[in-house]
């Protein structure tokens, strides 16, 4: 059973450029979340996609955008890159559950994409 996969593994860009990161969810999962992890910090929530719609967004600027495809895979796009965007970008997948359900399902993470902005 394939887990969450992400590509590319590493990426080097310069300030002002644009980048696209890709994620394929674990088999049977239909919900994808993206997180940014700076060095020495815990992951920070960027947004979550379910049924090809962004259903929640964290405290990130509009330069960060995403998309989910009918096969549940997802892309994260970052425009006008800043030095501060250098981080490990993590994708997590889970089964979609209603907000009213008492117990949360587990989010499984991919290996991440290391983005370096010069």
């Amino acid at each position: 059973d394939a887990g969450v996969t992400q590509s590319p593994t590493h990426l080097i860009k310069t300030r002002g450029q644009q980048v696209t990161l890709r994620c394929s969810p674990k088999s049977g999962h239909d919900t994808v979340s993206w997180y940014q992890q700076a060095l020495g910090q815990g992951p920070q929530f960027i947004f979550q996609y379910y049924e090809e719609e962004e259903r929640q967004r964290g405290n990130f600027p509009d330069r960060f955008s995403g998309h989910q495809f009918p096969n549940y895979s997802s892309e994260l796009n970052v425009n006008a890159l800043l030095l501060g965007d250098s981080a490990l970008y993590l994708c997590a997948s889970m089964r979609g559950i209603p907000l009213g359900r008492a117990m949360a399902d587990t989010q499984y993470f991919g290996p991440g994409t290391r983005l370096t902005v010069l």
Partner: protein, 110 residues
Amino acid sequence: EDQVTQSPEALRLQEGESSSLNCSYTVSGLRGLFWYRQDPGKGPEFLFTLYSAGEEKEKERLKATLTKKESFLHITAPKPEDSATYLCAVHMSSNYKLTFGKGTLLTVNP
């Protein structure tokens, strides 16, 4: 604002020296508390999910417990391969995201 605090920030143990990591949270409507292990440069690896106070889960040398305001990750007779950053995250009832602590960097010396 919802907050997750992990302590200590770093912990150095000798092989076989048992200890505990703490995760305290100030959120309302907890839907789940999650523990992950993260090796350098890699994605977090799922360890445990806890849903209600009093719940305990075990896996090899690790045991996670949950109270109304905090969780503990107990490590019994650790080995060098247990060295990693351990992350705690909470999922609230009012949204879809995980809120993480900064993690505890555990180093186990042989």
